[in-house]
């Protein structure tokens, strides 16, 4: 049985097509396309455990809690943006510019299971139906979104939460789409601050919206530099 079998079967259901703006209901469920996509980008459990999980654990803390806890290790500076879905084309492009500027070669996307092994209604194992993907950092938007129901659910469904990171362990993003006020929290080491702050700046209107819904662990930082920002060591 393939590691992604449950995910593959679950998300091929037409019920998930209601979230998609990129794939029509009539084109939903193309298993040939989705399987080829997973063959290209699925991150095997063995590679994840050996190489990527240790990197993830260097970047992220409180992984089984997520927000409102701080999810980044103390040495990371943070930018908080409005969340909701994993990516739009524009915000993927901005993050990709940061990743390439850092010099990373891969983009790993791992869904948060919050330490649970089964769904709340016990209908399935989370281990087999959660996303664990690895892409080349320079992947095009068209290729990223080419996996029919697989890529559409991962990118467009406004429910799952994800850890994003690369091999340098010098940046990460936590997509808190299931938090009551969905947020994207991007963390980066000080040496990369200039590029992340330049690429991920937001409007003043968005800054005001974000400020209202920031959890206390994120609200102690400087605002008004053009970016919604929380310092790495906020005042208690």
């Amino acid at each position: 049985m393939r590691e992604f079998e449950q995910l593959f079967n679950e998300y091929s259901s037409e019920r998930y097509s209601m979230y998609s703006r990129t794939i029509s209901e009539s084109n939903w469920g193309n298993k040939t396309v989705a399987e080829a996509y997973l063959d290209r980008y699925w991150l095997s459990l063995s590679e994840y455990n050996q190489k990527w999980k240790p990197i993830q654990d260097r970047i992220f803390v409180n992984q089984e809690t997520g927000l409102p806890q701080r999810v980044f290790a103390p040495e990371f500076e943070l930018i908080v943006l409005i969340g909701g879905i994993l990516f739009t084309k524009e915000d993927f492009a901005r993050l990709q510019e940061c990743i390439l500027a850092v010099g990373d070669k891969s983009l790993v996307i791992v869904e948060n299971t919050f330490g649970r092994s089964t769904t709340f209604d016990n209908t399935s194992l989370l281990e087999g139906r959660t996303f664990r993907m690895k892409y080349p950092a320079g992947i095009s938007w068209d290729e990223l979104t080419s996996g029919n129901f697989v890529s559409s659910v991962m990118i467009e469904m406004p429910h799952n939460e994800y850890f994003l990171f690369s091999e340098s362990a010098s940046w990460g993003r936590y997509a808190a789409n299931d938090y009551e006020n969905p947020l994207d929290v991007t963390g980066f080491k000080r040496e990369h601050a200039a590029v992340f702050r330049e690429k991920l700046c937001v409007s003043e209107a968005d800054q005001r919206e974000i400020a209202i819904c920031l959890p206390p662990a994120y609200s102690g930082g400087e605002m008004g530099t053009g970016c919604a920002r929380a310092d790495s060591n906020p005042e208690p």
């Binding site: 259901s13 409005i82 969340g83 909701g84 919050f114 709340f120 989370l126 429910h159 299931d178 994207d184």
Partner: protein, 87 residues
């Protein structure tokens, strides 16, 4: 940002906020099943569990992986509404 609710049954939502990707979210207090029944009244239940309303809106439910909380999702001509229910 105040946005219009997708249907009268959720008009008591305090406000809809716009999320990344254009998704609109509201939080409603109440009984999840009662709210779902009100929203999906008169609709046709599809084999995959969603309800299709006479005006074409699609209504689905989702349980949070993190908390198990009930969310009602509505697709109104491509606009996605996410309605979180707080008991």
């Amino acid at each position: 940002m105040r946005l219009r609710p997708p249907m009268p049954a959720v008009a008591n939502a305090e406000k809809f906020t716009k999320l990344k990707g254009g998704v609109q979210q509201a939080i409603i207090k109440g009984n999840a099943q009662d709210i779902f029944d009100a929203i999906s009244k008169g609709g046709q239940k599809l084999p995959d569990g969603r309800v299709k309303l006479p005006d074409g809106k699609l209504v689905g439910i989702h349980f949070s992986t993190k908390t198990g909380e009930f969310t009602i999702d509505i697709n109104k001509a491509g606009e996605i509404f996410k309605i979180r229910i707080n008991p």
